[in-house]
Symmetry: C2
Subunit: 219 residues, 2 copies
């Protein structure tokens, strides 16, 4: 059995919702190893050390399990990001920290990263029907950083937070995907973090705005 | 029947490889409409106006059809991009044009964009086994732009083309994905193009390098 962080908790008489937790932890392993489509509920039950039927007490089906896993993990990630960012004053500092934390998480928890970047997209239910409120919340942390910088004059006034949050997330997600899927040998995530931070901080600073003002006016 | 661009060609006695073309055109429609996993070879055959068995004369299976479709479309896209970019001198101009062409293609061919951004990721064969040489070639067009700018001194000397190509592609892909999947009402692609171009051009210009030189030294 390979239950993530099980070593931190007493296993003898688990509280009722500890089973839910064990199933979610097992699902990360199984989805990352076999892929969402080939993963079987039976494999997840075996990994979690529960009967197959137990899984259906907590989750309707495999798609529901994937979505619940996503919501559960994002809840923890959002809380950790907000706590860390609230200690920093400036927008550029916060953006720096966001990039560092996002890629740090990918590096520390590659299986979770694999599920979030690759496997989620294999669920057509997730991609097509599910609104992913926690994902929107995660993106909004980024949007708030851009709004802060625009308000304080640290960043240029013409930036659009609702588009920029997608641009920065897309960049982070792509370098994470490459890093995960090439078995981490293509480049160090620290190099990617530096490139993204350089591009964003230089690209957003108010002081550089005059240089390419004409660019902003093009259709 | 809704064969893409069929109106341009005589249909009476199609040349032998015209069937392959009709099947590929039909596959774009069917994959975009039903999703890769739910699309059936039978549906593609009906859309293309050929017998089911004919498809297997050209393609081994549905995954092979998707990969062939990808290679075929990318070949045309790469040639068009190279021709257009070769007319421009500067790296910033070329980067501008690349962003404009990428998002312009998404806007003009939303079904093809849906297949390239969403459905390709639904094929685990594509994601896990296939090296996608044409996709690498597409990314290399971006890398060459960064190398050009670095060489001529237009862009800052510390940039890393192999990471930047992923960052810029990730940003383009994410805004395309949002635009496609929200039925194009979230924002205009022209606004996204402007944000990406502003961010990149300002973020890469050599003249802004002194301002945040310390950022580049961080781990």
């Amino acid at each position: 059995m390979n239950v993530h962080s099980a070593g931190d908790r007493p296993i003898a008489t688990p509280p009722p919702n500890d089973k839910r937790r064990r199933i979610l932890d097992a699902a990360v392993q199984v989805f990352a190893q076999h892929g969402f489509f080939h993963a079987r509920v039976t494999d997840i039950a075996r990994e979690a050390g529960v009967a197959d039927g137990t899984i259906y007490l907590y989750f309707k089906n495999k798609d529901d399990l994937l979505i619940s896993l996503f919501e559960d993990r994002m809840e923890g990630i959002i809380a950790a990001f907000r706590a860390e960012l609230s200690r920093l004053e400036g927008a550029a500092e916060r953006l720096d920290k966001f990039v560092e934390m996002h890629l740090g998480m990918v590096e520390r928890e590659p299986q979770l990263a694999e599920v979030l970047t690759v496997e989620l997209r294999q669920s057509s239910k997730f991609m097509r029907e599910y609104k992913a409120p926690r994902f929107q919340e995660y993106l909004d942390i980024l949007a708030e950083i851009f709004e802060l910088g625009r308000r304080t004059g640290e960043f240029r006034p013409d930036l659009e937070p609702r588009i920029l949050k997608r641009i920065v997330f897309g960049a982070l997600d792509e370098v994470s995907l490459v890093w995960s899927s090439t078995r981490r040998d293509k480049y160090a995530l620290a190099d990617a973090a530096r490139e993204i931070r350089n591009l964003c901080v230089r690209g957003l600073m108010a002081s550089a705005a005059h240089e390419t003002a004409q660019q902003g006016d093009r259709p």
